[in-house]
């Protein structure tokens, strides 16, 4: 298969970027999108050109490292991560636009690679529980209702790839923060810090320059872990309750 690529090239965070045209020739239909870029990069390095920089790691749809916005859709067409997109999804001769995740809070590094460490800082602000380490306690001593266990598991499926931010027209990180706040807030171990967690994570998110949720649900539509936007409603009420408690506590 042959494709015309329009790829965002940017030397570093400060220099302006632009789209450059590339021809992807003789691509096997069973190649993944990232493998297609590998093939293009092979020919670029053969011609002593700078290869296209992009993020990837496990290439099994698990780790959340790959990014890319393909034809305006974070992670490209279909559910799942970029590494799970195969070239057979496209038609021979297609023009494909490839861009990095765009958000003020995700600053560019090079080409299609952006700095997503803002998510790490949100986790550092409260996405954990403070427990004494040691041997695992007896599981049955801490009962968890089945419904809560299922919901918590669903929220914990978030791989923190940042596609929700990339898809959101306002670069809001609400789906990510909602998933992280909910998966701990639904379990007994997370109750002690439930209020402070919601407050600290939301404020860290705001301080980092993520936008505000306007209920577009673009995030839910593209999330490779299929996190439901109803977790955002849960975060909204957790945050409001925590703020009320903060205001009333002397």
């Amino acid at each position: 298969m042959n494709f015309k690529l329009k790829v965002w090239r940017q030397k570093n965070a400060v220099s302006p970027g632009s789209f450059k045209d590339y021809d992807a020739k003789d691509i096997p239909s069973e190649a993944s999108f990232l493998e297609m870029l590998d093939i293009v990069n092979e020919s670029l390095t053969g011609n002593s050109e700078d290869p296209i920089e992009f993020d990837s790691d496990c290439r099994e749809g698990i780790c959340g490292m790959c990014s890319l916005v393909i034809n305006g859709i974070p992670h490209g067409p279909g559910k799942g991560t970029t590494c799970q997109v195969y070239m057979r999804r496209f038609t021979d001769g297609d023009t494909i636009w490839i861009e990095p995740f765009r958000a003020a809070a995700f600053s560019p590094i090079k080409d299609l690679v952006v700095d997503r460490s803002a998510f790490d800082r949100i986790i550092q602000a409260g996405g954990y529980i403070v427990v004494r380490t040691g041997s695992a306690p007896e599981a049955n001593s801490l009962p968890v209702p089945k419904h809560n266990a299922d919901l918590a598991m669903e929220a914990a499926a978030c791989i923190g790839c940042g596609a929700c931010v990339a898809a959101c027209p306002n670069s809001s990180a609400m789906l990510f923060v909602a998933a992280k706040v909910s998966h701990l807030g639904l379990l007994p171990q997370g109750q002690a810090e439930r209020e402070t967690r919601a407050i600290h994570m939301v404020r860290e998110m705001d301080e980092l320059g993520f936008g505000n949720c306007r209920n577009y649900y673009e995030c839910e539509a593209i999330c490779p872990a299929e996190i439901s936007a109803t977790f955002i409603a849960r975060l909204n009420r957790d945050y409001a309750a925590a703020s009320a408690q903060e205001a009333l506590t002397v």
Partner: protein, 240 residues
């Protein structure tokens, strides 16, 4: 990935006062928008119920108008409360929109919207036009400055003849058309806004999500049908 790169993100700093800090946060500001929206939605529904009394007859709607005016100071308390909700709703939305613009400095070359509705993406535009519509509506029927005859209209009991005023106003096809367009945009605003209020206030969950989304749209179109029925029936000469 610890590469020191300059972020273009604006810096938000939170106040020590929990009330101010709540408003400064994204969710806090959205709560304020949602609560004021709820007040305005209740008003839109109440106003509709009041207006539909035109179909019962001139006596009924004129009596209703007199009842409201006889409330005196209470009417002004309600008016100031509604005006405050309206202003706060707009101010908080402008602040949110400004922050959102800063958060997404560059759009994608190819827009790849998957889920969001046109109504959702045009909330600011529909909001601005609804604002203009409300201003004209108040000038016409509350302050009565668009037509000097409105002041003098009295019914047989000496009450202000609201019934006649509506008929005189909506008999003009252009004015009626403007109302229908204004209401259509209000409907667009509500079709995303009603469900958004529920989501933002955090009373949504996966059992209710679909009902809330479709219920919000249905209610928005019910509001449209209810309000539009008045200029349309006057234009068609059904109400004279």
């Amino acid at each position: 990935m610890s590469v020191a790169s300059p972020s273009t993100a604006p810096v938000r700093v939170f106040s020590k006062n929990p009330f101010i800090a709540f408003y400064q946060s994204s969710i806090g500001k959205k709560y304020v928008v949602a609560v004021t929206a709820l007040i305005l939605i209740l008003y839109v529904l109440g106003h509709l119920a009041g207006n539909l009394q035109i179909f019962i007859g001139p006596d009924r709607i004129n009596a209703y108008a007199k009842l409201l005016h006889d409330l005196g100071p209470i009417l002004w308390v309600v008016r100031i409360f509604l005006l405050a909700a309206f202003v706060i709703h707009i101010v908080a939305t402008i602040q949110l929109a400004h922050e959102n613009r800063l958060a997404k400095p560059q759009k994608y070359a190819v827009p790849g919207y998957q889920r969001s509705s046109t109504a959702a993406r045009t909330m600011l535009v529909s909001g601005v036009i609804v604002f203009c519509f409300v201003v004209y509506h108040l000038l016409q029927f509350t302050f009565e400055v668009t037509d000097p005859r409105y002041h003098q209209l009295r019914d047989s009991l000496g009450r202000h003849d609201v019934y006649r005023m509506l008929i005189l106003g909506f008999r003009h096809p252009l004015i009626s058309l403007f109302y229908i367009v204004g209401l259509f945009l209000l409907t667009n605003h509500l079709s995303h806004g009603l469900a958004s209020v529920v989501q933002t206030l955090g009373i949504n969950n996966r059992k209710t999500a679909n009902f809330v989304a479709s219920g919000g749209q249905t209610l928005a179109w019910v509001v449209f049908a209810g309000y539009v029925s008045i200029p349309v029936t006057i234009l068609l000469g059904i109400i004279k």
